[in-house]
Amino acid sequence: MSYFPDLTVAPRRYAYARRWLRSPGASCGALILLLTLAITLAAPWVAPYDPLLQDIGQRLQAPSGVHWLGTDGLGRDILSRLIYGARPTLGLVGLVVVLTVPIGLTVGILAGYYGGWIERGLMAFTDMVMAFPRLVLALAFSAVMGPGLINGALALVLTGWPAYARLSRAETLKMRRSDYLAAAQMQGIIGVRLLFGHVLPACLPSMQIRLALDLASIVLAAAGLGFLGLGVRPPTAEWGTMIAEGSKVIFDQWWVAASPGAAVLIISFAFNLLADGLRDLSDPHHA
C-alpha cells in the first residue's frame, strides 16, 4: 500500500544483553554472581555433605578426592560449608540493599526537591553520618545489641545510607526545574506520587554503580564481623566465622582458612568488576 520501502528500523535484538557484553568486566562480574546465587539456591543438591555433620575421626584432613577442600577442626566438609556459607553472606547483602537504598533515596529526594531549610537540615545530618567510622560503629552496635545476621545488617544500614542520599539529591537538583516535571505537575501529579513516580526513577541509574561498589565493601564488612565473632551464631556455616576457625590452625592446616577467604575475595571482586564495568558503560570517556 505504501510507496516507500519499509524504513522503520527493526529494534536490535537482545539490545540489553549486547550492551552488557561490551564490557567484559561487567559481564564477568555478573556471571560470577549469578553462578554463586544459583549454587546457593541449589545448595542442598550441590553440596557433597551435610555442612553440620561432624566426624571427629576425619578432622583437619588435607584436600583430597573425598573432601575436595579438606575438613575443618570438627571434621566437617569445608566445601559443603563453603556452599552453605554463601547464604548468610548473600542474605545480609540483600537485607542491607533493601534497607539502605530506600532510606538514602527518600532523604536525598526530599532534600533535593524541597530545598531551603529541609535541604540544609537533611544534608547536615547526612554529612554528619557520613563522617562516622562505619565498621567500628557496626562493631559497637553488634556488640551492644548482640551478634547476629539482622543486627549486623542493621549496623551497616545505619551508616551506609548517606552516599545514596547525596547521589539522589544531586540527581533531583538536576531535574527540579525540568520541563518533564513541570508537565507532570500540570497534569495534577503532585506530592508523593510526583516524587516517587517521576523523580525517583531518574535517580536510579546513577545509583547502580555506587551500589555495586558498596556491595563489595559490604561483603568484606560482613566477613569482618563474622571473623570477629559478631556474625551468624555457630554452628551455622558463614565465611567470616570459618576464617576465624581456620586462623587457629593457620600454621599447620592452612587450607581451613584459605578457601573461605578466597570465596569472600571472589564475591567481592565480582561486585567490584561489575561496578567498574558499569562505570565504563555509563561513561565511555573514562574507559
Partner: protein, 354 residues
C-alpha cells in the same frame, strides 16, 4: 559587560577582608561540631541500649532493693534522658569515659596506652599506600588503556576486594611460618617484649631509644608484615581515585594548551596536572587514613598487635561496654579531626585558592 560595584561601606569592606574566610571557616566548624555531637548521641544511645544495667553492675546481684535504687539515683538513671545526656557529655568533657570492666582501669588510661601503637601502624601503612597508590595512579593515567593501566587496574580491583584479615593470616603463614623472613605476631620477640621500657608505646621509637642491640631490627621485622598488609587494603582505593582525578583533570583546557605548546606527556602530568590536583589527592589520602584506622581493628586482631583495635575486640568479647564505646568515640574523633585537618590543608595547598 558590567563592572562589579565595590561595596565601600564598612560592612562591605569587612566582608571582603575577613568575613568571608571567617564564614568559610565557621561552616567547617559547624560541621565538625555537629559531627562530634552526633557521635556523642550515637554512643549515648548505644550505651543506654546495652542490656547490661550499669547500676546493677555496680551494686552487684545480691544488693538490696534500696541500695539498687540509690545507685540508680546516684547515676541519674531515674532522670529524663536529656539530663542523662548532659551528665554524659559533662563526664566526657572531664575525660571520664568510665571504667573498663575487663582491665579494671579507667578507659581513658587504657586508650592512652594502646592508641600510639595503632597510630604507628596506621601512619606507616598510610605513607606506603600513599606513595605506591599515587605512583600507580600516575603510571596508569600516563597512557590510559595501556598495559601499565591494565596492571594498575587489576591491582586496585584486587586491593579493594581482598579481606584484610585473611591476607594477614596467609602472609603470616607464608612469610613467617614457612620462609622465616619476618617476625611473627606481636610487636617484639619475647626476649625484648618484657625487658624494654615502652614509654611512648611507639615500638620503633622505644627500641631505638633503648640502645639494646637487635631490638630495633626486631621491631622492624615484626612491623613490616602488618604494615604492608594494612597498606595493601588501602592501595586499591588510592590508586583508583588518583587515576580518576588525574584523568578528569586531563580533559581541561590548560592541558590542551600545554600540549599545543609542545610539552611532553610526562611533563604535563607531573608539572601541570599534579600540582592542580594535589588538594583532591590529599583528600583521597586522608580518606584512606580513616579507612586504615578502621582496618587496623581487623589487622591488629590477626597480628596480636597491642593497639586500639585489639583492645576493642577484647572488650567486645568481655561485654565491656564502656571500653567499646570509648574506643568507638576515639576513632570517631580521629575521623572528624582528619577530615577537618584535610579541609584546612586543601585550602592551604591549592594554588587556585591561595
Amino acid at each position: 559587560m558590567t563592572v562589579p560595584v565595590r561595596d565601600l561601606t564598612l560592612a562591605g569592606r569587612l566582608n571582603r577582608a575577613w568575613y568571608r574566610p571567617l564564614r568559610v571557616l565557621s561552616r567547617g566548624t559547624v560541621t565538625v561540631i555537629l559531627t562530634v555531637l552526633g557521635l556523642l548521641v550515637a554512643t549515648f544511645v548505644l550505651a543506654s541500649l546495652a542490656p547490661i544495667d550499669p547500676a546493677l553492675q555496680l551494686v552487684g546481684d545480691h544488693a538490696s532493693n534500696s541500695a539498687y535504687l540509690h545507685m540508680r539515683q546516684v547515676l541519674a538513671l531515674d532522670r529524663p534522658w536529656p539530663v542523662q545526656f548532659e551528665r554524659y557529655v559533662m563526664r566526657l568533657a572531664h575525660g571520664d569515659l568510665g571504667t573498663s570492666s575487663s582491665t579494671g582501669q579507667p578507659v581513658i588510661d587504657d586508650l592512652k596506652r594502646v592508641f600510639p601503637a595503632t597510630l604507628e601502624l596506621a601512619t606507616l601503612a598510610m605513607t606506603i599506600s600513599a606513595v605506591f597508590g599515587v605512583a600507580l595512579g600516575l603510571l596508569s593515567a600516563w597512557r590510559p588503556g595501556g598495559a601499565l593501566d591494565a596492571v594498575s587496574r587489576v591491582v586496585s580491583l584486587l586491593g579493594n576486594s581482598i579481606p584484610v584479615f585473611w591476607l594477614g593470616l596467609l602472609s603470616l603463614f607464608v612469610f613467617y611460618a614457612h620462609l622465616r623472613w619476618v617476625g611473627g605476631p606481636g610487636r617484639l620477640d619475647d626476649a625484648f617484649e618484657y625487658t624494654l621500657d615502652m614509654r611512648s608505646n611507639l615500638v620503633l621509637l622505644d627500641t631505638w631509644r633503648s640502645h639494646v642491640p637487635g631490638a630495633f631490627a626486631n621491631a622492624v621485622a615484626h612491623l613490616i608484615l602488618p604494615v604492608l598488609v594494612l597498606a595493601a587494603s588501602a592501595l586499591g582505593s588510592v590508586t583508583r581515585l588518583t587515576r580518576a582525578v588525574l584523568l578528569e583533570e586531563r580533559g581541561r583546557e590548560y592541558v590542551t594548551l600545554a600540549r599545543a605548546k609542545g610539552a611532553g606527556e610526562a611533563r604535563i602530568l607531573l608539572r601541570h596536572i599534579l600540582p592542580n590536583t594535589i588538594g583532591t589527592l590529599l583528600t583521597v589520602i586522608a580518606l584512606s587514613y580513616t579507612g586504615l584506622l578502621e582496618g587496623a581493628v581487623l589487622t591488629e586482631t590477626v597480628f596480636a598487635w597491642p593497639g586500639l583495635g585489639r583492645y576493642l575486640t577484647t572488650a567486645l568479647f568481655a561485654g565491656d561496654t564502656p571500653a567499646v564505646l570509648g574506643g568507638t568515640l576515639l576513632i570517631g574523633l580521629c575521623f572528624v579531626l582528619v577530615n577537618g585537618l584535610t579541609d584546612v590543608l586543601v585550602r592551604a595547598l591549592d594554588p587556585r585558592i591561595r
